[in-house]
Amino acid sequence: MHKICSRNVGFHGQSVTINCYGAGSVDLVDFLFSDLLVEEESVPHAVYDVLFAGSHPMISLWRDDRSLYFGESRYDLAFILLNEVTFQCITDNSAGHAIHAAAVGYWEGAILMPGESGAGKSTLVSWLVANGANYLTDELVILAEETSLLHSFTRPISIKRGSAAVVSSFIPVNEADLLTGLNGFMLPHRQAGSNFIPAATPPLSHILFPRHIPNAPPSITRLSSGLGCSKLLECYVNARNIKGHGISQIANITRKTPVFELTYSSFDGLREIFAETFPALLTEEKSKN
């Protein structure tokens, strides 16, 4: 099959090459990685092939001779490919602290929102972006060791099926623009809000741990540095690559960065809570919506 093109994608000095074969393959790869394209001279960690074949294409994903996906779901292939690229970008990365976290930016810097899968990061970040925050990522950041600059794995916002209705209520979703599957959809992040800034690497200004608790009233509580450090270490994904597991450096980050915990059950009342703690984060215009 004829190769249409190759894309080098990644971030923070780590990359992979993705070869695209067949009509539709380039559109999918560009949908996923348009904000993660890197220079061709960077040495890729791995090479992947995305193949589309036929008019109702059967699609497949390969790494070398190993099949990672074969079927008809672009969403499922995209999900696997995103996870592969994420893994390759952090597995040997020792130049910064990789944190499993969503993040948004504004003029003061970046708010890091760490959390495990299923913690509601993507839904919360969608709401913040819809209300004026700059989208950075819903999945992964690398904090640079010396500068505390935040490097984001900027990808489409991945919404799980259970959160689809609520996200659709505050972001006008055009079905044709989504990548949809049985387990959810991926939302093109540049369409989610009007304040997207490509390749932004803002300084870390705050850390906010989201906790979704059914029926809980919205509240934001300041956490101590030690407790913040303890919680941040739970989301620290490349500790083994860093000398001393990076504990002292993570502790230093929470010593100099205000740490908060957000408890919420819905988005009712959340605007007021955010306005009190982060007055410059959300736009006035959107508050009338």
Binding site: S225, G226, L227, C229, S230, L233, A239, H245, I247, A251
Partner: protein
């Protein structure tokens, strides 16, 4: 809990100190334990070879205004730092 029991700090854990709190972290197991001030005192006194009963007595004498709660606080602190595969405190067997 056997109050004559002594524990020693697990050498796998490193200590990260903040103003009024401590984080213990085991590099080998990748697990962290957050300690409040009381738990930190207990950890330190275990390292000096005191039994649970001795720790309770020392703290009751030092903080008589909290005498009613010290036994329970020390017991809770010990329990939070023991009993798992890679715990911050290890029992000393006579």
């Amino acid at each position: 809990m056997d109050k004559t029991q002594k524990f020693s700090p697990n050498p796998d854990f490193t200590v990260e100190k903040f103003d009024n709190e401590i984080l213990l972290y085991a590099v080998s197991g990748g697990n962290g334990v957050y300690l409040n001030e009381t738990a930190w005192l207990v950890w330190e006194m275990c390292g000096k070879g005191h039994s649970v009963a001795e720790i309770i007595t020392i703290l009751e004498e030092a903080y008589p205004e909290h005498k009613d709660s010290i036994d329970a606080d020390v017991t809770a602190a010990i329990e939070s730092m023991t009993g798992k595969e890679n715990s911050p405190l290890l029992p000393i067997h006579a």
